[in-house]
């Protein structure tokens, strides 16, 4: 259990990095392709990537505490 934190961190970081890179890439792509090499899609993409990574990381860290509720329909 103790190693889980480490593993999580690893994952998170990796994922974030990937996301970041991907975001960057996509931003670059978009910026290159559609937005005439402006920097805001790159940043946007970075941000998206970071955000996604952060969110994933958070989700990963939160996952044990998440409660899954089931809606019981009145039959």
């Amino acid at each position: 259990m103790a190693e889980e934190q480490g593993r999580k961190w690893d994952r998170c970081l990796a994922d974030s990095a990937v996301k970041l890179a991907t975001g960057l890439g996509v931003g670059i792509v978009f910026s290159v392709l559609f937005f005439k090499r402006r920097t805001w899609p790159v940043v946007f993409g970075l941000g998206v990537g970071l955000g996604m990574g952060y969110s994933n990381c958070q989700q990963d860290f939160r996952s044990p505490y998440l409660l899954h509720g089931h809606m019981v329909k009145e039959q």
Binding site: M1, A2, E4, Q5, Y54, C57, Q58, F61, R62, P64, Y65
Partner: protein, 657 residues
């Protein structure tokens, strides 16, 4: 049978005729009688004349009347015997009844009865003897009279016959004279016999009167038993009187007949004499007996004779005519005379017949009375006998009941005494048995005790062995626990546990304990305390880092914050945990320091407990370690229990039971 013989002897004693009969019929009975009663008394007077007269009369006269007389006399004898016979039984029944009616001693009663009977019997015997004597004498005299009468009758008849013969027969003169002489003799005989008969009749009548007097005297005595004899005597008297009278009448008729015959003979003689006289007057020279002279008669004589005869015939015819004329008168007078005579005779006959009848009736009545009395007596006797029988039956029943009662009583007593003796015997035997049983039981108990002791020893030995084995296996387990290398778990405890399980197959506690071991320990083994301690520090570090993270706070920012906290917060590395945890002690850092302290002091349990108090992410992080700690603790606990148990068992077995 004895009663029959005794009765026979008694009766023979009383009735000699019966005795004679019995002596005649049964041989040697005369000796018995002679032994018991003395020699036989000479038979009474009555019997001899009876037998004599019967013999004589039958011999002399075979007329119906005499057999009738003898019949009467035998009847008398029979009645006499009957009287004797009927006298016997009442006495005996009286003897029987007396004791039942009054409660006198039987001897006295019997004596009294015997006295009474004897007196009665004496009286009776005297009476009967009197009667017998009187009857005997009377009968004798009567018979004599009757005999005389019969003789007279016979004489008369003979005389008459002879007279008639003399009348009719015409014998030669000498024969005639003899005839006349014979006739005279007969006549004298007849007169004599008639006189004799008259005297005898008188004597007989006197005797009859005497007998009557005796009978009356006997009647006055009023002895019931004598009545039949009295009756018989009376009857005989009556019959004798009747016979006498009949004989007398017969003699009288014979006499009258003889008179007639003599009258006739006289008449004939007269006629003959007259004729003779006439003849003599006519023919004087002819002798009296003219019958033999028929050859010698001359013609004149014959003529005169014939004339005389004719004259006689005329005379006779005239007389006849006269007679015919006077016939009626004569007849009437004769009838009258005859009537008178007849009347007289009738009266006499009637009176005698009436008297006879009356006597007969009286006798019959008396006889009937006697019969009824006898019947009544017999009935009374039967009733008395019945009563006696009923009494005897009742006595018998009472006796039977008494017998039953007494028997049942005796039986009860017998049974009770028997039961007592039996119970006594049973008790004694039971006591013996009990004592024996007690001894046996004691011996048996001791034997059992010894056996049990031996068994228990055996068991104890067994137990000791088992305990030893258990202890050994537990020691093995303990040893395996010690094989934990750092950071590596021990060897799996399965083998040792198996050994334990085998060694203590019957021990439930040990089995339970053996099974209580967590499966991970069996399969994978457990971590040692040291390793756990070591691991704790890393865990501590980690837990410190995520101290702020819990369900609500678990974003990455919080993570950052908690990291910051961990970096900045400093707590004591080891802090002694208090006895009681308060609310503020539930802080992660504090807890961790407490746990570190307790770990350092070897109290894994406390450390585990404290770590268990962590919350949130720290808890999650420490979960692994907690689990391991728990396992180790469990195993250790079980093992310690087992060892303690083994020790205890070993101690227990080594100790004396």
């Amino acid at each position: 049978m004895g009663g029959g013989v005794g009765g026979t002897i008694l009766y023979a004693n009383w009735d000699p005729k019966f005795r004679a009969n019995v002596e005649k019929s049964i041989p040697y009975s005369d000796q018995v009688f002679g032994l018991a009663l003395g020699p036989a008394a000479p038979p009474p007077v009555i019997n001899k004349p009876v037998s004599q007269t019967t013999g004589v009369l039958e011999h002399i006269l075979r007329s119906h009347s005499l057999s009738f007389v003898s019949l009467n006399l035998t009847k008398f004898v029979v009645k006499h015997k009957l009287a004797h016979l009927t006298k016997e039984p009442p006495k005996c029944t009286e003897c029987e009844h007396e004791p039942a009616v009054k409660e006198r001693p039987e001897g006295e009663v019997a004596a009294r009865l015997a006295e009474q009977d004897k007196a009665e019997q004496d009286l009776l015997t005297s009476l009967s003897s009197n009667l017998e004597d009187a009857l005997g004498s009377t009968a004798k005299v009567t018979l004599q009279a009757i005999g005389a009468q019969e003789a007279a009758l016979q004489a008369i008849a003979q005389h008459t016959r002879q007279l008639r013969e003399a009348m009719e027969a015409e014998a030669p003169p000498d024969k005639k004279s003899t005839q006349w002489r014979v006739l005279e003799d007969a006549l004298s005989e007849r007169s004599r016999s008639v006189d004799e008969a008259g005297a005898a009749v008188l004597k007989a009548k006197a005797e009859l009167d005497k007998l009557r007097g005796v009978i009356d005297g006997a009647k006055h005595l009023k002895i019931a038993a004598a009545r039949p004899s009295i009756l018989a005597a009376e009857e005989n008297l009556h019959s004798m009187v009747v016979d006498l009278d009949s004989v007398v009448t017969r003699v009288q008729t014979a006499q009258s007949e003889a008179k007639i015959v003599s009258q006739y003979s006289e008449l004939v003689n007269e006629a003959k004499a007259q004729f003779q006289k006439e003849l003599n007057s006519i023919t004087p020279e002819i002798q009296a007996n003219w019958k033999g002279l028929t050859g010698k008669l001359t013609q004149d004589d014959l003529n005169s004779l014939i004339a005389h005869a004719h004259r006689r015939i005329d005379q006779l015819n005239r007389e006849l005519a006269e007679q015919r004329v006077r016939e009626q008168i004569h007849i009437d007078s004769a009838l009258e005379q005859q009537k008178l005579e007849d009347k007289k005779a009738l009266e006499v006959a009637i009176s005698t017949a009436l008297e006879h009848n009356r006597e007969q009736m009286r006798l019959e009545q008396e006889k009937k009375v006697e019969e009824t009395r006898e019947v009544m007596e017999a009935e009374m006797r039967t009733q008395l006998r019945r009563q006696a029988a009923a009494h005897t039956d009742h006595l018998r029943d009472v006796l039977k009941v008494q017998e039953q009662e007494l028997r049942s009583e005796a039986e009860e007593i017998l049974n009770s005494s028997l039961m007592e003796k039996e119970t006594e015997y049973r008790r004694l035997t039971q006591d013996q048995l009990d004592s024996f049983t007690l001894d046996m039981n004691a011996a048996y108990a001791r034997l059992k005790g010894m056996e049990e002791a031996i068994d228990s020893h055996v068991i104890a030995e067994e137990e000791a062995r088992k305990a030893h084995q258990l202890w050994l296996s537990v020691e093995a387990l303990n040893y395996t626990l010690k094989t934990a290398a750092l950071n590596d778990p021990t060897e799996p405890l399965e083998g040792a546990v198996q050994a334990i399980k085998e060694s203590c197959a019957e021990d439930e506690f040990a089995q339970a304990l053996a099974t209580a071991l967590p499966s991970e320990s069996l399969s994978r083994g457990v971590y040692s305390e040291a390793s756990l301690r070591a691991r704790f520090y890393t865990i501590r570090q980690l837990a410190r880092r995520v101290a702020l993270i819990d369900e609500t706070r678990n974003s990455l920012y919080q993570y950052f914050l908690s990291y910051l906290q961990a970096m900045l917060l400093f707590e004591k590395a080891q802090e002694a945990p208090p006895a009681k945890l308060s609310a503020e002690d539930l802080d992660t850092f504090k807890l961790l320091s407490y746990a570190a302290y307790s770990l350092e002091h070897g109290d894994l349990e406390l450390a585990a407990k404290l770590v268990n108090q962590l919350k949130g992410e720290s808890r999650r992080v420490a979960q692994d370690w907690l689990k391991e700690a728990r396992l180790t603790l469990e195993t250790k606990q079980v093992v310690s229990l087992l060892s303690a148990y083994a020790n205890a068992v070993g101690l227990g077995t080594t100790m004396a039971p």
